[in-house]
């Protein structure tokens, strides 16, 4: 039997895998003083993937590998943002990891493996590939968190992350097996056909759906499955925290869209998972925003802020229409942008033997360096959702989608909790501008990190004033990917 398949839609994945293996071997021949070569190769791999993905965009969904892989516009756009996020994260964390003994080949290889996992998740059209991509990402992340072996807090964080992550994977797998039992297929396109036709056994489907939503909640870090988020954010080296908080959120968004919207998006099931997501979204916004107020550690505070942002993301998805998914995608892209900037700033203020992770460390930043204080101000405003930054527009578009879907009360609740959340973001602004500095060490970032950080901070402002392009891109890619067959 002859077996031919179009391979070119998967060129980015293949290139990435080849590059990771090459870097793994090349790193052995590089001495510690020349580790910069590994770093350059890593950036080259990401840039190469960017170029390949860019050149192979067609705008039409193309399936290959017996329907296990899909290359549509949504996956292309999300992948492009993923590469950018990882590249920026590497630039920001270069000085940080160098002073902490993490500037090693394994760090870069694991980061690239995690990126490959995200790419696989984003392009998956089969529950099996979704799950394998997720595990590839998760395994690399566990190892990255634990990479700082001598730090007790990092080891504890890695242990918690690993145990809870394994539990979540178990739930997800159990749910998937139930879905398979009910419909007899694992392929998402086939699954949606069967479910749309009203086939499959309803009770068993919903039963599987419950477990899948619980597993997704764990992976997203939404309440009541959020217990690991603060500990992992706090315990991991800041560079790894930045990594966990940025690009994987894009992959998680794709995961939710593929599984819930594309696979199980039929009327009767949509109503079911909408209810579950409403509970998770409201609880996430409430607990995330209120608990964040009590934190004195900035990384912990941002962990709770992540939980509340994930609640907002779920709001977009549960709206259940093109507007909702599009604004959800916009929200997650913007969130990654803000998170990159904020953690980049934490690493900027850190130096050898000192972590700028407490709120006090930001006291009087304006006197030390007004420019960085201004960038941090923009990022905090955006996180809080204040105009004219892009965070405002992201929240607004999600709220519009929620109101359009007929959940006015949900929008009111979301606005109330955002107001509570604004308190702790603005507290940082107050510390920066109206307090005297405790720490007077000069801030000397590398040139590349300095330029990128400025671009990142200003992008938050510029995108806030001109959000139409990005919004249109998100809407269009969702439309071109999800609404072709219907």
């Amino acid at each position: 039997m002859q077996y031919i398949l179009p391979l070119w839609p998967a060129y980015p994945e293949l290139f990435m895998l080849a590059m990771v293996c090459a870097i793994l071997v090349a790193d052995l021949f590089v001495s510690d003083d020349n580790r910069i070569i590994t770093y350059a190769l890593t950036q080259a791999a990401l840039a190469g993937c960017f170029a390949i993905t860019w050149l192979t965009i067609t705008g039409e969904p193309i399936h290959t590998f017996s329907g296990m892989f899909v290359d549509d516009l949504m996956s292309d756009v999300l992948k492009l943002f993923t590469y950018l996020g990882v590249m920026v994260m590497l630039v920001y964390s270069r000085a940080y990891i160098a002073t902490r003994g993490l500037f090693r080949g394994e760090f870069f290889v694991l980061v690239l493996f995690a990126t490959l996992g995200m790419m696989i998740m984003i392009s998956a059209n089969h529950l099996l590939t979704l799950y394998l991509g997720l595990e590839l990402l998760a395994l690399s992340l566990y190892a990255l968190v634990a990479l700082q072996r001598d730090s007790a807090i990092a080891t504890e964080a890695a242990m918690k992350y690993f145990v809870l992550g394994a539990l979540a994977s178990g739930m997800l797998l159990y749910g998937m097996s139930m879905i398979y039992g009910a419909t007899g297929t694992l392929e998402i396109t086939r699954l949606s056909e069967i479910v749309f036709d009203g086939g499959g056994k309803d009770v068993v489907l919903v039963f599987g759906l419950v477990f899948i939503v619980a597993g997704l909640g764990f992976k997203l870090g939404a309440v009541p499955f959020h217990m690991w988020v603060p500990d992992v954010y706090h315990g991991a080296p800041t560079a790894v925290t930045l990594f966990i908080g940025s690009a994987p959120k894009l992959a998680a968004f794709a995961f939710v869209i593929r599984l819930l919207v594309q696979g199980l998006g039929a009327e009767q099931l949509l109503a079911e998972w909408q209810q579950m997501l409403i509970v998770m979204a409201v609880l996430s916004m409430a607990i995330g925003n209120i608990t964040a107020i009590a934190q004195t550690n900035l990384k912990r505070m941002l962990a709770y802020s992540t939980i509340s942002h994930m609640g907002f993301l779920l709001l977009g998805i549960l709206s259940g229409d093109l507007n909702g998914y599009g604004s959800g995608m916009f929200y997650v892209v913007v969130y990654v942008l803000m998170n990159l900037g904020t953690f980049g700033m934490i690493m900027l203020l850190s130096r050898s033997g000192f972590e700028a992770e407490n709120l006090e460390d930001f006291k009087g930043l304006n006197q030390r360096n007004p420019w960085y204080a201004f960038l941090m101000l923009l990022l905090m405003f955006s996180m809080a959702g204040m105009p004219p930054t892009v965070g405002f527009y992201a929240k607004l578009s999600v709220l519009q989608a929620v109101v359009n879907a007929g959940y006015l009360w949900l929008a009111v609740v979301a606005v109330l909790f955002s107001l509570i959340g604004a308190f702790y973001y603005l507290r940082i602004v107050r510390l920066m501008y109206f307090e005297t500095p405790q720490d007077t060490a000069p801030i000397v970032p590398r040139a590349d990190a300095r330029v990128l950080l400025a671009a990142n901070g200003l992008a938050v402002l510029v995108l806030g004033i001109f959000p139409e392009r990005l919004m249109a891109l998100c809407m269009y890619s969702i439309q071109a990917s999800l609404y072709v067959t219907q």
Binding site: Y3, L136, L139, Y142, V204
Partner: protein
Amino acid sequence: MTFQTFIFYFFAAVLIFAALRVITARNPVHAALFLVLAFFTSAGIWVLLQAEFLAIALVLVYVGAVMVLFLFVVMMLDINIARLREGFWSYLPLGALVAFLLAAEMGLVLASRYTGLADMPAPPPLPAGYSNTKELGRLLYTEYVYPFEIAAVILLVAIVAAIALTLRRRKQSKYIDPAKQINVRRADRVRIVTMPSEKKDQ
């Protein structure tokens, strides 16, 4: 009840019993042995489903290799069971309540009319010359080649992570480098000092 159904129920009962004992046995070695029993009975169920290659692979790989290794590790580690069980009784009431509720709800759903024997019929009998292994191999390298490769990458990550997390260069370890030993010259090891002879003091 046909003989086949009887065998199925027998294996299923043993499997559930063994799985329960894995998590309730006090002694970790016993738990590992019950896991072996659980693997063995699930292999039996797979044979009933005419998946004999998978059944044999399960016994060979898991029972033969993985579990033996596991037993060695369990026996070598001196696990303090008393410390592991600290706080067991204080967590038991709540845990038992949640577990009971979960199990009852799942039972109610799964015992519904959708999951009876009639809904999950046994596969049709296969012809005598049918090769399970060949079919699996064909599927694995054609339709499932993509997940197959990803699984390989996951194993690679496991290797990289395990080495990155455990390999450390100890400064004080006295390892031997044969190349250095062979290349050694006399001058590196022995220093000949010329010294005038001294008279013993009287």
